[in-house]
Symmetry: C4
Subunit: 488 residues, 4 copies
């Protein structure tokens, strides 16, 4: 029957709230949330108390009320302001610059992103100069990398070129390219962070201290887990190499055997010497870090952008289904537009690293899957190999899903716009909705492909297809023999 | 009469009505309709009479008339109300909860979806607890499944790993994962059903008893046909296994031969004993049921969602091309939005099962097609094999088409909106049309792919491509030999 | 400088007119146009004179003028009306029903589309009944086809099943399915033609006699060229078969040799006899016709639908860039909507035939390309083979392009809507534009894929991929040997 | 000042300006820009001074000021106008006709695009006639090409037909087809250039002399670099052929050996003679030029169209975020529409060449990659081969990226429309935005595929897939043997 009053018909959309803000079936964010819940319980009691206080103060207040309160109430807020100032030292302001500080500091230990002031409170302290020590270190490493790369090319050209044998070449070229790009990114970094800062300033403010910490915690967790797994993989690779070096001992010196195996590209051209071996090992360690860091960098930027969209979405969610003024929508639209512009700027800045990271992962997954058909010479090998393979697949999946979350979050405001009641449906809301539906907001691989969830499936399909064809050229005895090392 | 023709040029869209509501060339729905028509004739005379009465009472009434009647007429409706109360016991209310009651009950017999109150009239009676007997049964089965899975892994790792030999491993892992997910779905079920209930309550009401029954009948038919075919397949598999066990008799005991063949993963690690054999058989039966049930579950949810969209569409169809008020469109839009939200919630709840079901079917079709190249040892094998293959393909197609029907139905309102006359084209109608064109409403495989009709073709293309490549590795003598059993 | 008046800035869109109405680089339509231009010169002088007269009468008249004239001028139009009546007998009314009359008549000679009244002036004369002689003939042929199909299945199952050997089976199954579907289409035909008639009545009228003839001429040309090429191919196949039968003569009777070769599926199971041979030959001829006719049917329906869109587009083109009233856009939008509905109805009616036609062509192109690697035994074979291959590819391309033209024409109004001046941009024009951009109007293969120009490329890509893989299984001696006939 | 901030919340979009107008990560345009910056420094001092003068004159002027100035100020502009007239001789007007003059002139030296007046100031001087000497030369070359093609077909048919052996056939057919199409393009050229002229006239004018020169410089640079690389490749091919001819010397005459090798299709059918050898060589040189020119033509047209869009975008960028009148948007929309129409007209004119160019490149990359597996007989070969391969890949990439830039530029206005403040958001701006989002403006390969950045990836994917399959048929000894020449 069409007769009954429309106001009886409540929008069921609101019921959605109870399911939490992310029923997107996002693996990793889910894990994060669990992790965070566990951390929450461990939160220092002072902070927890502050949050509870803050929340109880706001509970029940309509947005207009709080707006009024802010306008009229000076006396009331004085106390808050005072306490805010004293809390300032140990509190987050929720900015991206602050969140990535420690991550960039770690990167600088491995000769990447040489920019000064990463741990400062304000992005205006960021500086880049060619004369800083860290910049010189970075250039030094790149020069050393170039020598190593030349030695690798020399070795590869003297053997037969197959899909598998060019592995070290591709590995080292990617490292070198990423290093170069990271240097150029470091030059842009102060400017980029200022953009972030200006856009963050205008966004709807976080409600609780916990919300402010969220992004920083996620970024640190990703960095930590990534680094730890990478470290574990490197340790396993050393164990496996020692094992292998012992088995195929060329000389009587086990240390020499080990280094000749792991740095075969050096000792193919030059004679063995301890300094060279050390240099090779250092190079190895740095390369492994950078190889992981390029994926982590993409993830971190994605987390940052997605969290900015989420900040906006949280505000929209709070006023979902309510009667809002046109000015509200206009303001949100401009904020949304600013984040989109930021997203596009960041994409321009890192999309070279993104495409390197994706093609690199794609190639290595294909090679490793192909190598998985071989018989492993020892248990250490088997453990290392499968750990490495699953780490690789997991990392690729994590990059894809975190990067896709930017696109997912950018589409989210549409849900809230769909629930705008008829009375408050204004041209600005319509314009907002139209912009979201027609724009493609996502990180990309140099605009050749967009990073969305659909990409994961097509990458997986490509891997399966290539793998099925590549299997035909596979010969078992080709790998894991003593006369040919296969360490990356 | 509201439906005045705006000018001489009448919209031919109306002529479309005569073709029936689904000229979508949908195979299965078509079959259903035929089946239903046949059932209609067999409808008990009492019900038929009631429907005729109801229909004749409404014939000729314009919607406003009936609206007026509802407002003013108390005396007239008393009789109807009374008779309604007495009819209540044996009549459907057309809710999804009611329709899936028996389906869930069947599932509970096979240790899935342990939730209480599935056959109750109202979804508020649904309860889940870890202490219910059915939940414990479910956990017990999962533990037993885990043991079986471990034995299977043990056996697979001791043989050579090929595309074909990992079949039991994949089969059992999928069963285990689906069981786990079904348990978590059972926990959400009471809440989900309440959502359904609230949304259904607000939708335009069904006109006849027959319409109310439709969804429930379709769901039951799907369940029945699915189960019967699955049962037939299982019987054939037993016949074929007996045949095979006789041919490759290892011991003198035919029963032992049979069990050693069908539960080779158990007796590879352990010695033969009757209780173990029985356990294995039970496990087999349950696995086969769950393997079919995961597809059926996806179909049933799809049917439910599609039928809710159809309920809305039927109302739109009734007023197609007529001059309707803006409030009408506003109301329909909110109802549409509610169903979309429901669709997205259900998708979040079952999309893990969907992706398992699709990848599982894709893998098994590839394997079975590959095995179809073998020479079959006996007629029983041939019959079983081809029955199983066509059942598998048919089931996959049915899942795809039913799931795609959600998307198809969600696009249908656009047809009616296109025929809105110029005079009644209002912002709310425009907003409705824009939302439909820009949103993607469909079930998905964890957002990696959407379930639409286009998917069917791309899945078919993928199967053909993979098949053509896989054929190259096929060796005829590899399968159907006595020393390697190939029963799932 | 932004200062100058906007009216100085003339829309260059109009300049586009001079390029003719189809710069879409459409191969076949281009050929048609050339053919038509040549025919135009050969037009009987009477008709040419009438057209010139009509055109000169309308030249220079603004649309408003002619609208006024129609309203006020009764006396002036009397003459026109009179002459119209007398011309009626030998003139086209430009309806689809009239255009396909002879095509359907031809089909009926080959036991397809048994519907009465196809050559009548008005579609209301169309009748279908199960008791008509033509319906019985059709059923008889289908029964005969079924027997032939069974014999083919019998033969195929007794040999080895390969990608190439199932060719006759696929060929005959397709023929049988298409025959059945054509019968069901014949039942719907009277209703479908009435729909066409009602929609055509409301469309903007043709200006000249030549425009009215255009669609009918295109349809006949397609039918004629298709049939002639098919006839030529059949003749070549006979020549080649005679050649081959002589080479591999099994018996002394050359006629018997020929029939045993071309109808090997019959004489594999049964003994040779002249009546059987004749039956087989007849079956052959009919099958070849139907095999071509299914493609032609899709083409003809596509031409019909595209020409209805073009009729609308021609009207829009005439008023392009002019200031039109809102009522004009409203009317055009409804007309457009009606054609879209017609398109969707026709798609439902023929999409089964479309999908059969496409998959059939795809399979046969793959098989023939594969067979092209064989060495041909004689020149007759070579000529027949390559003629057949290019005919097949050409026909597939023609079906694709004609079907895609429906989609292309349905997008065309957008061009004219883009040139609507600012002053006459009204909600109805906006709604029209939005509907065109958001709807997908095209013929489809049971909604699994849409027939657009993009499809051609993906089909070509699929053929190349499959071909590259299939080549690996190709063995030269397998085909063209005396013990295995390979005639379809 | 119009550009008042609507509220406290300033649109961060403006900050984007500082990043330059193309942060699209476009490789080649980037190179161009660097090249241009370098050229800028080398700019003749007079021109530099003029530009500085012009810029300083405009600095600080708001658009309305300048608009006013134009309306009122006659006396002030007199000087400018006078100086303009005197500068006219050595200055660009920035038209496409002017920019491609020298490029077409070069083409005419190689018997392509025979149209008179390509270096004239105004496109109305362009003439095409069948009786011009250049047209006759073109026809003569085509006749000669046809003979050469026949000889090639003769040779190919007498050998075994493989993926590799049909290379000269495909090469020469493409050249012949492109020649024919270029002739037909030459006929349309005067009309096309008039269209360009009319549209360019209405576009927002360039601000500086430098901007006017930009397109012409880019076009010339592309032509120059393309021709130089092509020349280098041809020289290398001669060196490599001499080397090869010496190694496989058939006769004592080294010159004869060389010609018999490079023109083997001629001397396969005919006896050796010096005039024939010269004819063959000439044919070779011309073919090589045309082979490169077809790619260059597509690039040049793309650069032209993209630069017209950029001209519009530069104007939009200048007024980004400011409060503009509805008339401004209306005017820009019409200008945008005109460029779109031009783009579609040019696409119709050159899309045949585009599709030939793409399929040709795709085929040759596949063949060359396949041949890269062979062992090279000499260093000259290796150098030539890899130079040729990388040139081919680079050229294909360049064509793709330049063609894609048309699409990218056509989407750019959307960015500026997103920053229109709330107050000046009018129906015309909305219509503009809607048209951009819903239209697909790009060059295409006969509408079968659109040339966008996404295409690059799918082409790359196709090449890898085909390559992986083709490798299986590769036999090393097949190529680079003395009895079979493999020069294109």
């Amino acid at each position: 029957m069409i007769g009954h009053a429309p106001n009886k018909l409540t929008c069921q959309c609101r019921a959605h709230l109870s399911f939490g803000c992310g029923p997107n079936m996002r693996f990793l964010p889910k894990l994060e949330r669990k992790f965070r819940r566990w951390k929450k319980l461990k939160k220092p009691p002072l902070l927890r108390k502050l949050d509870t206080l803050f929340k109880s103060a706001h509970k029940g207040h309509r947005p207009e009320d709080s707006a009024k309160r802010v306008q009229k109430g000076n006396g009331k807020d004085v106390k808050n302001e005072l306490s805010y100032k004293s809390r300032e030292q140990f509190m987050y302001n929720g900015s991206f610059h602050e969140a990535v500080g420690s991550v960039l500091l770690t990167a600088q230990c491995f000769a990447m992103m040489p920019v000064r002031g990463v741990t400062a409170k304000h992005p205006s302290s960021l500086r880049f100069s060619w004369r800083y020590v860290r910049t010189c270190c970075c250039l030094l490493f790149m020069a050393s990398m170039l020598i190593n790369l030349s030695l690798t090319i020399y070795k590869v050209l003297h053997g037969s070129i197959t899909f598998n044998s060019i592995r070290p070449l591709i590995f080292k070229s990617c490292i070198f390219l990423v290093c170069g790009k990271a240097l150029s990114l470091a030059r842009q970094w102060p400017e980029l962070m200022m953009k972030w800062y200006q856009i963050e300033k205008d966004l709807p403010q976080y409600q609780t201290q916990f919300e402010k910490r969220r992004m920083a915690q996620t970024i640190r967790m990703v960095m930590l887990v990534g680094m730890m797994l990478s470290f574990a993989e490197h340790l396993l690779s050393i164990v496996s190499a020692i094992n292998y070096a012992e088995f195929c001992s060329r000389t009587d010196d086990p240390i020499r055997n080990f280094f000749e195996l792991t740095n075969d590209e050096i000792f193919y051209a030059l004679n063995y010497s301890a300094p060279l071996a050390l240099w090779g090992k250092l190079q190895n360690v740095y390369s492994t870090f950078i190889w992981n860091y390029m994926d982590i960098l993409v993830m971190i930027v994605s987390i940052g952008l997605a969290s900015k969209f989420r900040q906006l979405n949280d505000n929209l969610l709070r006023f979902k289904g309510l009667h809002m003024a046109a000015a509200y929508w206009s303001e949100r639209r401009i904020q949304y537009r600013n984040i989109c512009t930021l997203c596009s700027t960041m994409d321009d800045a890192i999309s070279f690293i993104t495409i390197i990271s994706f093609s690199n992962n794609l190639y290595f997954i294909c090679v490793q899957l192909l190598r998985s058909l071989n018989t492993m010479p020892s248990v250490a090998h088997t453990v290392y190999f499968y750990f490495s393979l699953f780490f690789l697949i997991g990392r690729t999946l994590a990059v894809s899903l975190y990067a896709a979350s930017v696109h997912d979050e950018s589409r989210r405001p549409l849900r809230y716009l769909r629930c705008v009641p008829k009375e408050s449906w204004c041209p600005e809301a319509m314009r907002f909705a139209e912009e979201i539906t027609s724009d493609m907001v996502a990180l990309s691989g140099m605009k050749f492909f967009n990073l969305t969830r659909k990409l994961v499936l097509s990458v997986a399909g490509t891997i399966v297809t290539y793998e099925l064809v590549l299997i035909q050229f596979h010969e078992d005895q080709d790998l894991w023999t003593c006369d040919q090392s296969t360490y990356s």
